[in-house]
């Protein structure tokens, strides 16, 4: 039926490689907002989100001749992710970025219905799975059986100090609300 005069990303990237600023502007208009959104959702900071959008598009322009991009949205969003993570690594991110991690490691601070969300459970599972083996074992004993650091130390034949260090001060004990996930995890671990 109707055909749109819409330039595909590929056409625009070809034109961009030749230095066409109109193509650049169209691409910017097409993607700036979703990029800004993605950055803002993590950093909750207008200036940082704006800076990230600017940096990425300036890079896109300066490296236009050498870049070979198959999927522009994926490329741009990966670029946003790396810059957001860079803010986290450099400790420049606002505290809200730690929210989910706090929620999963310190349930007493937010042991409400939010904790029951499927995504949070999955995130917790991914977090625990990412821990080194020894620490993971300590975590599971602590969370699943709500053992004290003393009891865990006895069980694993390590010092209580080590257990405390491994758990980190943030983890004071997760509530039984998380039991289903933890049991699931324990089953996965065999």
């Amino acid at each position: 039926m109707a055909h749109d005069v819409v330039y595909t990303d590929k056409v625009l990237l070809d034109l961009l490689a030749q230095g066409d600023r109109n193509a650049f502007t169209i691409l910017y208009r097409r993607y700036w907002m979703s990029m800004y959104d993605a950055a803002w959702k993590r950093l909750k900071n207008n200036q940082q989100a704006e800076d990230i959008v600017q940096e990425i598009f300036i890079t896109l322009w300066t490296r236009r001749a050498e870049l070979s991009i198959e999927q522009l949205p994926a490329y741009l969003h990966t670029a946003v992710r790396f810059r957001v993570l860079n803010y986290i690594e450099r400790d420049l991110a606002t505290s809200s970025v730690y929210g989910p991690l706090e929620a999963i490691t310190a349930a007493e601070q937010g042991a409400d219905s939010v904790l029951l969300e499927k995504e949070l459970h999955e995130l917790l599972a991914a977090y625990i799975a990412s821990l080194p083996e020894k620490r993971r074992a300590i975590f599971i004993l602590h969370l699943k059986e709500n053992l004290s650091t003393r009891e865990i130390a006895d069980r694993l034949h390590i010092s209580q100090k080590t257990v405390q260090n491994q758990l980190g001060t943030a983890v004071k004990g997760l509530h039984t609300k998380l039991a289903p996930v933890l049991i699931g995890l324990a089953l996965l671990q065999g």
Partner: protein, 408 residues
């Protein structure tokens, strides 16, 4: 405040991730952690069209400043950079010799070309955007450009909701008191979309209006239109159990309220162009079937791809059959898809430009009788549209405030 060790832990993990030293489990966690935030609300989506567009321009300006500051890149071979221009120019020259300056380019207007050839377009006009004025049954008005998304009003048992650049009518129950009439009107430089209570969609072009009931209860659905609108009418049956279709009737009115024509459909896609300053009222059918009536004249039934042209001024047409032509429907609804598709004399083209960019048009010298063609996005500034037309070499423009002067 997050505890410091959480910050440290995450920073450390991110560093490993960046350096490519993270385990697959750690990578999975980082990516899942990042994806977690996707569902959070976004502030830009909450902005209205005007604020968003201001922000878009502001960030773009900063980027462009940075681009200009960076060194000019190594020059690109001329044949590559200007391929499209050369092709377009060659096409123009060929057609030129045929006596009609008609060409189609589906490529970007080259900025370098524009800068060289046009000295008089330092001023510019941004394109039109989404916006309209809603008049409720009690006569109160709401400016839809800047108002927040959400429920705006109850009209009888129908809720009026703004969602993005659309106005939706949600009818809550079928029974109820008689319908209230609402009007959505766009000024020049604005367009808008509606979903009526029966699910029919209407796109309103600039300088247009639609008057419609907020619910459809009788034997027929009747709306009134000025200017230009594209309809996607949904098929619905009468509220009784007869299972008969409820016809949808568009009354085309002149600005003085005179009845010009009536379009009757059951469920179909069509465009009505009934601007006062256009020579004819054109109804173009894309899908389905419509019956076009004119007072004291025989009605015609259009097939997809056909356009009826009712002459408003000419008295003689009354006794005649309504003329029907086969046309390029894409051209008729180009506006709705966000672009211009020109194919005709310069006055007709300039009328479209005037309505969308909200400008006055003046002519100096003789430019009549020249035909132009071309397609370009309606989201470009007016200078880009004019530059495209100037590429023929047979017409030129200057912009002074809100006036565009056309010269040979």
């Amino acid at each position: 405040m997050p505890s410091p060790d959480i910050q440290e832990e995450l920073a450390l993990l991110v560093k490993k991730y960046r350096l490519g030293k993270a385990t697959p489990e750690e990578i999975a966690f980082i990516e899942q952690y990042y994806a977690w935030f996707d569902k959070e609300p976004s502030p830009v989506q909450q902005l209205d069209e005007m604020e968003r567009s201001a922000m878009e321009s502001r960030i773009l300006t900063k980027i462009e400043q940075e681009m200009d500051r960076s060194l000019k890149p190594a020059s690109i071979p001329l044949y590559r950079r200007s391929f499209f221009r050369v092709a377009a120019a060659a096409a123009i020259i060929m057609i030129f010799s045929a006596g009609i300056y008609l060409w189609f380019i589906r490529t970007l207007p080259s900025k370098t070309a524009g800068n060289k050839s046009i000295a008089s377009l330092q001023q510019d006009r941004p394109p039109g955007r989404d916006g309209a004025i809603l008049t409720l049954a009690d006569g109160s008005t709401i400016v839809l450009d800047s108002i927040q998304n959400g429920a705006l009003a109850m009209q009888g048992n129908t809720e009026v909701v703004k969602q993005g650049s659309q106005l939706l009518y949600n009818q809550h129950n079928k029974a109820g008191n008689g319908p209230a009439w609402n009007t959505v009107a766009t000024p020049r430089g604005r367009q808008y979309q509606l979903v009526l209570a029966d699910g029919s969609k209407v796109w309103l072009n600039a300088a247009s209006s639609l008057r419609y009931p907020t619910s459809f209860t009788g034997k027929e659905r009747r709306v009134q239109v000025h200017g230009e609108a594209y309809f996607e009418v949904s098929k619905i049956t009468l509220p009784d159990d007869s299972r008969e279709k409820m016809p949808f009737i568009v009354e085309v009115l002149s600005s003085s309220g005179d009845h010009i024509s009536e379009i009757e459909v059951l469920g179909t896609h069509f465009n009505v162009n009934a601007y006062e300053d256009e020579p004819t009222v054109n109804t173009t059918l894309l899908e389905g079937s419509v019956r076009v009536k004119q007072e004291s004249s025989a009605s015609v039934i259009l097939k997809p791809g056909q356009q009826s042209q009712i002459s408003v001024s000419s008295q003689s047409s009354k006794s005649h059959q309504i003329p029907v032509l086969t046309v390029d429907v894409d051209q008729a609804i180009a506006w709705k898809n966000g672009h211009f598709e020109f194919n005709g004399n310069i006055q007709g083209i300039m009328r479209q430009i005037a309505r969308w960019y909200d400008v006055e048009v003046k002519y100096t010298g003789n430019v009549t009788g020249k035909a132009f063609g071309g397609a370009i996005s309606r989201m470009e500034n007016v200078s880009q549209v004019l530059k495209m037309l100037e590429m023929t070499g047979s017409i030129h423009f200057s912009i002074d405030g809100d006036t565009i002067t056309v010269k040979p």
